[in-house]
């Protein structure tokens, strides 16, 4: 915060931290005129992002994604279900987003965060409409058995851009997912082919070996905060609370627009602002794609 304070104003008399707490908006605007943010980022830059795959051993697929200090842990548990009548050869995905009390001072036990179901819905809409996963790949025996993938995303640390981090951890968990080898037993139930039996395949083996899903057109997102004419990419929780207009753009890996959310807010965005957001997202998408590829290739080496 080594910015020179303009004279003739209260800010030259009070401590920087006090000024930040008392006049958060003025504090931010002062920075924005200098095209820099209090954490030292230029307006259009997202925070450092990392992905760690396979964080949860008890799940079939898992990933830990961090954007700045926002941390998401996603894990997929595979269970078997009877597919519905209208889509007998398709599996199913159930996505749930949780904000446990550990992640933020505003969440208390027994009083769930209001935003959690919203993000949950956005995530399942985005993942289903992106067509990333071919549900037919989750089929086991047509009309009899199919996979139900339970994807649970836990927010471990909430510091803004929750949806971006949640989506990133979700797609990373899918890229890490290993569907176990299973066979049909005598009772008509699907059981995992355990390694102890020497992987001996019975004649009813449904899935001969562990397999990965083919992910096409992976969706990536970027949330921007709009304030006056400024666009701030990847806001922190503080920025989100001070400047309330948020735009989230989701693009898939071939730069097609998957979805766009602008839930109200005091700033009415010009179409040019939206275009700028999309342009920022396109850049971000390439960054994220690279980070995800690196995480996956890192896994293969191990």
């Amino acid at each position: 915060m080594g910015l020179p304070d303009a004279p003739g104003d209260l800010s030259s008399e009070v401590d920087v931290d006090a000024f930040r707490r008392l006049f958060p908006l003025r504090f931010y605007e002062r920075h924005l005129t200098e095209s820099i943010r209090p954490d030292g980022r230029p307006l259009g830059r997202a925070r450092d992002t990392t992905i760690a795959l396979g964080a949860v051993a008890s799940a079939e697929g898992s990933a830990l994604a961090k954007i700045g200090s926002t941390t998401m842990l996603a894990a997929i548990k595979m269970e078997v279900m009877t597919p519905s009548m209208d889509s007998p050869d398709e599996g199913c995905i159930a996505i749930d987003f949780h904000m446990p009390p550990i992640c933020s001072p505003i969440v208390r036990p027994g009083r769930p965060a209001e935003i959690a179901p919203v993000v949950s819905k956005q995530l399942s809409d985005t993942i289903s409409s992106s067509g990333m996963i071919n549900l037919k790949e989750l089929s086991l025996v047509s009309g009899k058995a199919a996979w139900m993938a339970y994807l649970d995303i836990y927010c471990l640390d909430a510091d803004g851009a929750l949806f971006d981090a949640a989506l990133l951890s979700a797609v990373a968990a899918f890229s890490h997912l290993q569907i176990p080898a299973v066979s049909l037993n005598d009772d008509g139930k699907i059981v995992v082919v355990s390694e102890e039996n020497g992987g001996k395949l019975e004649k009813d083996a449904v899935n001969k070996e562990r397999m990965k899903l083919t992910l096409k057109s992976i969706p990536f997102s970027l949330t921007c905060v709009l304030h006056k004419n400024y666009i701030l990419a990847d806001p922190t929780a503080e920025e989100e609370s001070i400047m309330e207009t948020v735009v989230t753009v989701v693009l898939d890996s071939s730069s097609q627009l998957v979805s766009l959310y602008k839930p109200g807010g005091p700033v009415l965005a010009y179409t040019s602002a939206i275009q700028d957001c999309v342009a920022l997202t396109r850049q971000r998408m390439k960054e994220l794609q690279k980070i995800l590829d690196e995480a996956n290739s890192g896994m293969e080496v191990d």
């Binding site: 799940a59 548990k77 595979m78 749930d96 949780h98 208390r108 036990p109 339970y150």
Partner: protein, 257 residues
């Protein structure tokens, strides 16, 4: 795709969780059986602690013992709930929950009431509640993955998180459990060992003061065996406390740089 509304099909896990025969990992007469993870009977899993895992909290810690992974956040001291009566000492509020994917079979992810109250009882004796009158300190724990000895890991991790939050305590609280399998006592049991234990013993203590804040025993024990079990746990607690202390020292030395 994400489940048509109103139709949640019943699902089952394909893993053979309901093995009918208890795996004979040890024999009554056989002395030299090995534990599933190859540890000695009186050997704990390597413990890993890190403070400051959650930025949004006043203090936090992450602990990893083998496959048991826990994260604890501490908030406060902050305003007590409106309905609370005046109190001239501080309040401690604890909650322990599991993620849905923590256990081998998919769970509900709800609060673990029993553990919450155990965590409260283990910590309240160590915290100097007089230092924050009228306010509440919230200790929230989330078990990311359950790999056995979950509660002791939560307790140790929580005391580290409290230290990270700068809450005054008489001493760190370290906790270790052991399982009784036949004639043998195995310390820091994993999930598999816990599932067929004949008895269990859990100690939480303040190692520097050499005081037990919480002790629970299940199963049938003779007095010499309780003595042996308690001694094993207490020794392990003091070793654990050393690791916890060095973790705290490391955290402060890096933040000073």
């Amino acid at each position: 795709m994400a489940g048509k509304p109103g139709t949640t099909p019943t699902t089952y896990s394909p893993s053979p969780t309901n093995q009918k025969i208890r795996r004979p990992i040890f024999n009554e007469n056989e002395v030299d059986w090995v534990r599933p993870d190859g540890r000695g009977f009186h050997q704990c899993r390597p413990a890993f602690f890190r403070t400051g895992a959650v930025n949004a909290a006043s203090g936090s810690a992450y602990a990893e013992f083998g496959n048991t992974k826990v994260i604890v956040s501490v908030f406060g001291p902050r305003e007590s709930k409106k309905a609370m009566m005046y109190s001239d000492i501080g309040r401690l509020n604890c909650s322990v929950s599991y993620t849905t994917f923590a256990t081998p079979a998919r769970g509900q992810g709800s609060e673990h009431k029993d553990f919450s109250s155990m965590l409260h009882k283990s910590l309240e004796g160590a915290i100097i509640l007089e230092t924050f009158p009228k306010t509440t300190v919230d200790v929230f724990a989330l078990v990311l993955e359950s790999g056995g000895s979950d509660l002791p890991v939560v307790i140790s991790c929580a005391s580290l998180a409290l230290a990270d939050a700068g809450i005054l305590m008489h001493d760190l609280v370290a906790s270790v459990s052991l399982s009784c399998l036949g004639k043998n006592l195995v310390i820091d049991p994993i999930l598999e060992e816990e599932s067929y234990q004949d008895g269990g013993l859990l100690i939480t203590c303040m190692p520097s003061r050499y005081e037990v804040t919480q002790l629970t025993v299940t199963g049938e024990w003779s007095t010499p065996k309780i003595n042996e079990g308690m001694q094993l746990c207490l020794d392990a607690c003091s070793k654990l406390a050393k690791i916890m202390r060095s973790c705290l020292k490391e955290a402060t030395s890096t933040s000073q740089e």
